[in-house]
């Protein structure tokens, strides 16, 4: 049970980070609002840029 919980937490962290990195590569400037490609997406992501680095 303990091991399952640890694996779950690590998998969730890795999955979320993978999604974040993929979004960062696609939208490095807007972070996901679509402003840099015009394709649209999540408006929330525009804040990512200020937090990065």
């Amino acid at each position: 049970m303990e091991m399952f919980l640890v694996v779950l937490i690590v998998a969730l962290a890795a999955g979320w980070l993978f999604w974040k990195i993929r979004r960062g590569v696609r939208h490095p400037v807007c972070g996901g609002c679509g402003g840099c490609t015009g394709r649209g997406g999540s408006a929330k992501g525009s804040q990512t840029i200020a937090a990065a680095g």
């Binding site: 979320w16 400037v29 807007c30 402003g35 015009g38 804040q47 840029i49 990065a52 680095g53």
Partner: protein, 731 residues
């Protein structure tokens, strides 16, 4: 790259169109009459011309159509004159625009010039009434003004016709070029620049109102709430227009809260700041008006003085660091106390096992290490907010501009460097994006590649940790030295790039000098909190996720049963023996087992493999793992060291702060600390910054270059520091 307004395709190639613009009463109509021989009514009061008038003149056997546009102060559609002038420039696209300015009132007259240049029209400046200006003791250096403005400037006296031949020569030369230069880009301060960048991206991506002007200019008109452009935008693409208005609303609310102003007022301030700076350094000499200096000018005479200015600047930076370290020491200790208490709490309530290890070594010691520096970061941001909101940061940029030219960079590069962490605490990503304001692609690339050398807010905890551990007696002096090392390295690298891979000429530049303001407490608090919150949010999201993954990499694979069995049998032997030092011996076995476990893990194996090379710089395998984690985000260096030294401890929840652990570790000393500081300053930018560099430079090649070049330079310098330091016995 912005496109300038091109002449209309239906323009008659044999008879170029010359449009006269200028402020009311600048002598446009007089010049029109001088050029065309017409007898239009001229009055010595503003606003004589309310409609366009056309005439023809012959110059060197060539026919030129001359159009006299109504006098205006700006190009925002407030009055009929402005609408008529702007519509003519946009719809009819003359081959050349001659902007007539009154030499006696240059500062006011150039406001329109700046707007014309932002539109990217092909421009020649007619410096009119130079005789009247001279009588008033005002001498304008046309050549210097031309060089700084990037447009030809021809002195004239329209009343007598003096200079009109030279003006027509210059105008026809410009008309032959076929287009204006790239539109002028003025920085309107962080808040507005960010909004413009976002809006520009939207406008460009959909070719929104493409026929009306460059994307940046359209964005500016939205920020100025220009009625006509808004109406045109609503008709052309209502959804996009609404998105742009939303951006404007957001920045307006932000500016109202922080600076108690609105975008339009700030834009106007910055334009005047630009003009003000343009006219410095001998462009305008006044014989009689020395006492009419503004308050900002009086302050600037001292603060931007060639000798005192840089001294004041260095003193301000030093004072900022002293302020940051002095007042953050106690709150940082409180924060460490809170995380230490959390560790003990988790230890008391969680059973021994991997989950407890994850919570204590991964989360609390990892993320806690980063979060402990929140008070320090907060004070740093508060200090920077004071410098920024008061207008002093613009003066710092102005003074550094002279230095930057020596190293092949552009004045706007200063803004990039400062945003990226020139005074420690910025961020490389907006720093890289700020390089967009540079017109020359070569200067832009040199800036993109060197701005990440600045000390961003993420590197700050690494420095603060090492300073607390090894240089507690000289905190601000060491931080100041770190800043100087970063600047020197960045500038030398820029010089190297500009002399080799990105060689090319320098472009003229004028730095904006907005008037000084007394910062409002509310504005300072909002700016400070916004940035600090981003730091906290990042520690609680990205850093947390990376800390969990790195903990897993530092924990698995675990020791095999036979390896664990060996330690168990050692313990059994100690317990069975008659020795009196049982406790100490058992602790030594526990420590050896913890270290063996860490070395056996995936991250440990990578760290150990790298140790063969990195030991030249004094880095052990734990440091290697931390620095590798720093590729993701620099804060991870601190969180990973926290986890690595926690996992290596027998009772991680009972250990002191990370700084104390490092100071007590025999593998660390002052030379290793300096080596690590130098490596941290220069090595590869974080992942997000690399993506931005690649995108902004237009090629992943440059992203890869920044990773490889920076890491190679950082390692070479770290090895030099460690080897020389060790030889001198400085450890």
């Amino acid at each position: 790259m912005e496109t300038a307004l091109m002449p209309a395709e239906d323009a008659n190639p044999g008879s170029p169109t010359l449009a006269l613009t200028g402020n009311p009463n600048s002598g446009k109509t007089t010049l029109f009459n001088a050029l065309t021989g017409a007898r239009q009514h001229v009055g010595n009061y503003p606003g004589v011309t309310v409609e366009t008038k056309e005439g023809v003149c012959n110059h060197n056997g060539r026919q030129v159509r001359v159009v006299d546009l109504p006098g205006t102060y700006s190009l925002t559609a407030y009055s009929m004159e402005e609408v008529v002038t702007r519509d003519f420039l946009i719809r009819r696209r003359p081959d050349v625009v001659v902007d007539v300015v009154d030499a006696s009132n240059l500062e006011r007259n150039l406001y329109l010039t700046v707007q014309l240049m932002e539109m990217g029209v092909p421009l020649v400046l007619c410096l009119n009434m130079v005789d009247a200006a001279r009588k008033r003791g005002i001498e304008v250096d046309a050549e210097r003004l031309s060089a700084r403005l990037g447009a030809e400037v021809i002195p004239t006296v329209a009343r007598t016709g003096k200079g009109k031949e030279a003006l027509l020569d210059a105008a026809l030369r410009k008309a032959r070029e076929g287009a204006g230069g790239p539109p002028l880009v003025i920085s309107y301060g962080n808040d507005i620049d960010e909004a413009i960048a976002a809006m520009e991206a939207l406008i460009s991506s959909r070719a929104f109102l493409a026929g009306s002007g460059p994307a940046r200019w359209i964005a500016l008109k939205y920020l100025e709430e220009d009625g006509r452009i808004l109406a045109e935008g609503d008709a052309a693409d209502p959804a996009l227009s609404a998105s742009l208005k939303e951006e404007v609303r957001k920045v307006s609310v932000h500016l109202a809260r922080t600076l108690d102003t609105e975008p339009e007022a700030l834009i106007s301030d910055q334009r005047y700041g630009f003009i003000h700076a343009l006219l410095r350094e001998g462009v305008v000499r006044r014989e009689h008006d020395q006492n009419r200096l503004y308050v900002s000018d009086r302050i600037d005479r001292f603060l931007t003085h060639r000798l005192f200015g840089p001294l004041v600047m260095l003193a301000v930076v030093m004072a900022l660091y002293r302020f940051m370290f002095t007042y953050s020491a106690r709150p940082v200790a409180w924060m460490e106390g809170i995380f230490s208490w959390l560790g003990r709490l988790a230890s008391a309530h969680l059973p021994d096992g991997v989950l407890r290890s994850l919570v204590i070594s991964g989360l609390i010691d990892g993320v806690g290490g980063v979060m402990s520096f929140v008070p320090l970061i907060l004070l740093m941001f508060f200090g920077i907010a004071i410098l920024e909101d008061s207008g002093y940061l613009a003066r710092v940029a102005y003074m550094l501009d002279r230095v930057f030219r020596i190293f092949g960079l552009h004045g706007n590069s200063v803004i990039s460097y400062i945003v990226a962490g020139g005074i420690a605490g910025g961020c490389a990503v907006p720093g890289v994006l700020a390089a967009r304001t540079l017109r020359s692609p070569r200067e832009r690339l040199a800036t993109l590649l060197t701005a990440p050398f600045m000390n961003c807010g993420a590197k700050l905890p690494v420095f603060a940790l090492l300073i607390a551990a090894f240089f507690a007696e000289h905190r601000e002096e060491v931080m100041f030295t770190i800043t100087l090392i970063a600047w020197t390295g960045a500038l030398l690298a820029a010089r190297l790039f500009r002399s080799t891979v990105i060689r090319g000429p320098a472009t003229p530049f004028v730095m904006e000098l907005p008037p000084y303001r007394v910062p409002t407490l509310r504005g300072l608090l909002i700016h400070t909190w916004e940035r600090t919150w981003q730091y906290i949010k990042k520690a609680g999201t990205v850093i947390l996720a990376i800390a969990i993954i790195l903990w897993a990499m530092m924990t698995f694979p675990a020791l095999s049963d036979s390896q664990v069995g060996r330690f168990e049998s050692e313990r059994a032997e100690i317990l069975a023996s008659a020795t009196t030092e049982k406790k100490a011996e058992l602790e030594a076995v526990d420590r050896a087992q913890a270290e063996a476990g860490l070395r056996n893990s995936l991250a440990g194996r990578i760290g150990v493999a790298l140790e063969r090379v990195t030991r030249w710089a004094g880095f052990d395998w734990r440091t290697n793992v931390a620095l590798l984690g720093g590729f993701a985000a620099k804060e991870v260096v601190v969180s990973t060291l926290g986890t690595a030294y926690s996992l290596g401890e027998v009772n991680p929840e009972q250990g002191g702060g990370l700084a104390e652990r490092l100071a007590a570790n025999p593998g660390w000393n002052r030379v290793v600390a300096w080596s690590m500081i130098v490596f941290t300053i220069f090595y590869a930018p974080c992942f997000v910054a690399v993506v931005c560099i690649a995108r902004e430079a237009g090629s992943w090649k440059w992203g890869a270059f920044s990773v490889l070049f920076n890491t190679a330079v950082a390692f070479g310098l770290a090895v030099a520091v460690y080897q020389v330091g060790t030889l001198l016995g400085a450890g």
